[in-house]
Symmetry: C2
DNA sequence: GCTTGTCTTTGACATGCATCAAAGATAGTC
DNA sequence: GACTATCTTTGATGCATGTCAAAGACAAGC
């Protein structure tokens, strides 16, 4: 994990935003050096010419300064959008960058919760473990999603990158101090927490009462809706998540996930495509299946 | 459901606080009239002489006025404790009382979310349904717990009384307007939402990855910790919850819940007592069982 | 283009929990 | 105290999903 602290000089914070990493990074299991340091001034060479669908898709107020936050590609998706450009400057002072390769850990359950994070590109998974290794993934996080907030001093779960992922990091103490001056942000965070709570309740229904088929259908639809929400394509959907991770998210085994997906494929509801993409052939039928109708 | 709106005249808001209703109310399935209206002035006759362990157990700043909120028995457990007595007066103006009998519904999933609630006595369950009747209880709520907050305009779940239950009701719109003036409350609500989120994640681990035995052990310990937190006795614990509700909370059937409890009883880990109470005979062993060790 | 490691799929079999059924147990009512 | 309704317990059986095993499929690296 490489971390670059921002000083307060003007520079750009530019990320090549992809909802998921391209397929060749998905099987990456060993750390690979990723350049996250930025030149002190001038445009970032990696950003030039890159297609940034998020920035293209979502209108954003003109950035009034050069702070990395003002140019952040996920600003409109995350809690920071409660702030004006000027106020963002304050936020910027307590933020830094983190880049993770596929499979790399961000923090472990029980570690001191010194930072909170915002996903800017890629995808994260958060999970809890039992002592014998059983794992429950409690959520996948995509660009704009917030991570690490807690009332305790220790993280309540572990977080790991699903693919190459970049995050914006905030010192928790400093951020909390800032919040006192920006109740707008606090209100926004409350909204985010409530949305997450609603998702968690949906997930409980899935885990406790749905069959394998219903679980897989629900999961695919959830990914589709989520991609649409953040400006990506909702069909076909990117599926950078391994069978094992899907299983640990849905309370199943990899074998059952695989068999169930084969069933959906055979019955013509989905098609597995090149590059870990899945096309939903009959969304309505999937919706019905997901709700057990 | 009987509702009494407060006007702003001084009166008392006194509840007989019991963590759970006494056993004779537990099997109550038909509505029974419960007096919730208060006299406009003077002490509430039902409150006189009642033992209120919450008020006894938890120190509270001296109430400076006569608002019902200032005398609320769960004030220190709920979000309202972020406010001074004076500020509570504002809150009081948008609040009213609700009394439910066992099994009575407070609201259904999808209904307009016009109010939020605070449990003052008894216990609630919140749940989601599938179209064929399968049910997932996503949480039990006890005195001091908050209920109904949402970013949507419709409730995301249904809520029903587990036993005779009293709640404090707030008009959502008015409360939200008030929040703008009281960022302290917003911060408190954020903390509450985060705590609930942590609970939801624990529950996902239970639902997705634990065996029936581990689920039951986790549940009993959760009840014990929860009772302790709100000043009740942690052992033996009150268990006003039916096998069916436990099953729908843990993703099991009533039969499996019953068999598993019998197993725990047979192996000497717990004792079922008079009046729906359960004594944990070996908390450490239960903890280990709950964690799958 | 072969090797290697990981991920996915498929098959055979096992089992934890669900389902179906019915007999206690308990509390409320008359 | 008998009647009724609901809740709980127990038994017999079945099935959805887990477990174990091994053969593809795919991508990365040499």
């Amino acid at each position: 994990m490489r971390v670059t602290e921002y000083d307060n000089s003007a520079r750009y914070h530019i990320s090549v935003v992809t909802p998921f990493a391209t397929s060749e990074t998905l099987v990456e299991t060993k750390p690979r050096p990723i350049e996250v340091d930025r030149p002190l001034t001038g445009p970032n060479e990696r950003g030039t010419g890159a297609v940034n669908f998020l920035r293209d898709a979502i209108p954003r107020p003109q950035a009034g300064n050069n702070s990395p936050c003002a140019a952040c590609p996920v600003r409109d998706l995350s809690f920071c959008n409660a702030l004006s450009d000027e106020e963002l400057d304050h936020l910027n002072r307590v933020s830094s960058d983190v880049a993770l390769t596929s499979g790399q850990s961000l923090f472990d359950e029980g570690a001191p919760a010194d930072h909170v994070f915002n996903v800017t590109s890629g995808a994260m998974k958060v999970y809890k473990l039992l002592s014998d290794g059983r794992r429950q993934i409690t959520g996948f996080l995509f660009p704009g999603d917030f991570l690490g907030l807690s009332t305790r001093d220790a993280y309540a779960y572990s977080a790991e990158a699903v693919c190459s992922t970049e995050l914006c990091r905030f010192n928790r103490q400093k951020l909390e101090n800032l919040l006192k001056d920006f109740p707008k942000v606090e209100r926004r965070l409350l909204g985010i927490a409530n949305d997450e709570l609603a998702l968690a309740q949906d997930q409980m229904l899935i885990l406790g009462r749905k069959t394998a088929k219903e679980k897989i259908a629900s999961f695919l639809l959830m990914l589709s809706k989520r991609a649409e929400k953040s400006g990506g394509q909702s069909n076909p959907i990117a599926l950078p998540i391994t069978r094992t991770d899907m299983a640990d998210y849905l309370g199943l085994t990899t074998e059952t996930v695989s068999r169930t997906i084969t069933q959906l494929k055979t019955s013509g509801l989905i098609t597995l495509m090149q590059g870990n993409e899945v096309r939903l052939e009959n969304r309505e039928a999937l919706e019905e299946m997901a709700e057990g109708e």
